[in-house]
Symmetry: C2
Subunit: 354 residues, 2 copies
């Protein structure tokens, strides 16, 4: 899933190039990292990218030959995953899907592939499997998965697979703190595993109108009407997440607790979580090491451009993002509010910078 | 005097373009502002610029027809003023000199001209006159002039002219606080008034070797040997300030207490002293107003470039200087240390940025 259009990495991310198409604290772009860490378990020729029309140029620049299906409009994740499922079914009636966001960071790729291999086995057996990240802080920005280790159903390839009790929405702070203390909760990573057949059966059960649309699209794939039918049906679909529309109601939903160095790269401060800091806590992404001079500077995050010296003198906890047409200087504790700058520029009709 | 090569406005100022050739919180460059505020009292055709060879291109770009004498090398202010004096004497044996740094800011130009007119009268009568700025803080970065209002010698054109008791070097903090409390001290502004003849007589008295060199230069002016003789003699001269070499020893030295909104534009934080702040205390210089977006940002100083949006979000007391090849982000209380960045870049052999 490469459809995200987040503004939280503005000004490096723009409408036509959201963060999955950027290298943020990584050598390659996040979408290339996502594909790369699946290899050799899932070869690139079996990876299907689903993205919006507006992102096709960015994808084609990076991955000219990648299998790609475009969403005619943004309709949240349930229609996106359903569209992928009908395309996969055409190729392989027994297809097992790994649904993965294109813009996350995972430090332990071998560990991640071990979990995927276990999840694939369970999915092939008809279950829905999700990866649940063990929380290390009372994060209020994620949904949680309530599970019980005593419910562990099986250990597949040395990996625990547990029953899900329920999915819970983003909690208030006090609730998140209780979740962390109690220990029976995992972060919902948005990564799911199931057969395409099982997913479409559940969409038929819980979202019947959407299922009808997907069936019309399935029938049109490979015909001259494919684009027109996809556009017509996709437009009519309910905008709903796969979590809310399917997972919360489905049977036999499992969770694999995961300790894989996962980071959803949610905002500029996330660079400090997986980037390499100097001894003063400063993290650089982009640019050349020799083009950053730091004097009495601590715990700063710098997204450098390609062709400028950046000097920080006597500043702490600041985020600096240097792009050719915009410079952002932001308090590290205010990175969640970068969208406020984007909103201000929209009001000021400065769309060329968004 | 346009010979300054200060690094404190780096990265806007560079070796070939120190701050007198920049617009820093001003519509025109500081040297143009300096010449402009003398008009109509001193017309531009009677203004002589003394600067280093390296600054000639910057001066000719701004002021193609201005009377200009170049210093073959940097030798502090006494040789500089002496060189100007011998050139002025050639034009007018009764020349009265106003010695003015090219890179200061003076908010009250009419008030300044009133003081100059009074100083000129006293200088023509054979006195040495300096402007002393009434201090409003215990500044340790300036020399002071000890005077006594009871010594007021005359009121010329409504302006008080006082006897100087002594010049004092940059004081430690406790001493500066005492000066401020006692009230008998003024900041030495580096602005002096005297006849060229009187100045050269005092150089003969206190710096006889320098006087001999200046006499050789005077004899060569207008001859084919002028440049060679100037270079040879200037090189041999002692590097000494006019304050230390002449003023502290001279007779009949006067000071005019000045309240003219003077600022020596000594570092980036000075912009806040004479720039126009928004209601949150932010000051912008350079760039276009519409290319600066401030959200929850207070007491920042921004030197903007010509062609980029700058957005500040949730940051206070930061100085941002945006130039095409260098970006500086500096704590407002650390502007005195900008030279440390310059030194670091020298060590790193990044002379192209200096």
């Amino acid at each position: 899933m490469a459809g995200g259009s987040g503004t939280r990495f503005w000004p490096l991310s723009r409408r036509a190039r959201p963060k999955q198409f950027l290298a943020i604290g990584t050598p390659r772009t996040l979408i290339e990292e996502t594909l790369g860490r699946l290899s050799p378990l899932i070869p690139a020729e079996r990876a299907l990218i689903v993205a919006g029309e507006g992102h096709v140029p960015a994808i084609r620049e990076l991955l000219p030959d990648q299998w790609l299906v475009t969403e005619p409009c943004a309709r949240n994740t349930a229609p996106c995953v359903g569209l992928a499922a009908v395309h996969l079914l055409k190729r392989d009636p027994d297809a097992v899907m790994a649904v993965l966001p294109a813009d996350h960071h995972i430090a332990d790729a071998p560990g991640f592939r071990r979990l995927i291999a276990a999840a694939e086995e369970r999915a092939r057996a008809g279950e829905i499997v999700t990866l649940g990240i063990r929380p290390d802080r009372p994060e209020t920005g994620y949904g949680y998965i309530h599970y019980n280790r005593e419910d562990t159903l099986a250990t597949t390839r040395g990996v625990e697979v547990c029953a899900v009790r329920r999915f819970v929405e983003k909690p208030p702070r006090a609730v998140a703190e209780r979740y962390l203390a109690e220990g029976g909760y995992l972060w919902n990573s948005g990564m799911f595993f199931f057969t395409a057949r099982r997913l479409l059966a559940d969409i038929r059960r819980f979202l019947p109108a959407m299922a009808a649309g997907l069936e019309r699209i399935a029938a049109a794939i490979g015909t001259p009407d494919e684009a027109a039918v996809t556009a017509e049906e996709f437009n009519k679909m309910e905008s709903v997440s796969i979590d809310y529309g399917v997972m919360e109601h489905a049977d036999r939903v499992r969770v694999i607790p995961a300790d894989i160095g996962w980071n959803d790269v949610g905002h500029w401060a996330a660079l400090a979580d997986f980037g390499t800091a100097d001894t003063d806590g400063n993290v650089r992404s982009g640019g050349r090491p020799e083009d950053l001079v730091l004097i009495d500077a601590h715990d700063n995050i710098v997204q450098a451009g390609d062709a400028r010296m950046i000097a920080l003198l006597g500043v702490d906890n600041v985020v600096v993002v240097d792009t050719p047409d915009v410079l952002l200087v932001c308090g590290r504790d205010r990175v969640q509010d970068v969208r406020k700058v984007v909103s201000r520029l929209e009001e000021l009709k400065r769309g060329e910078l968004l």
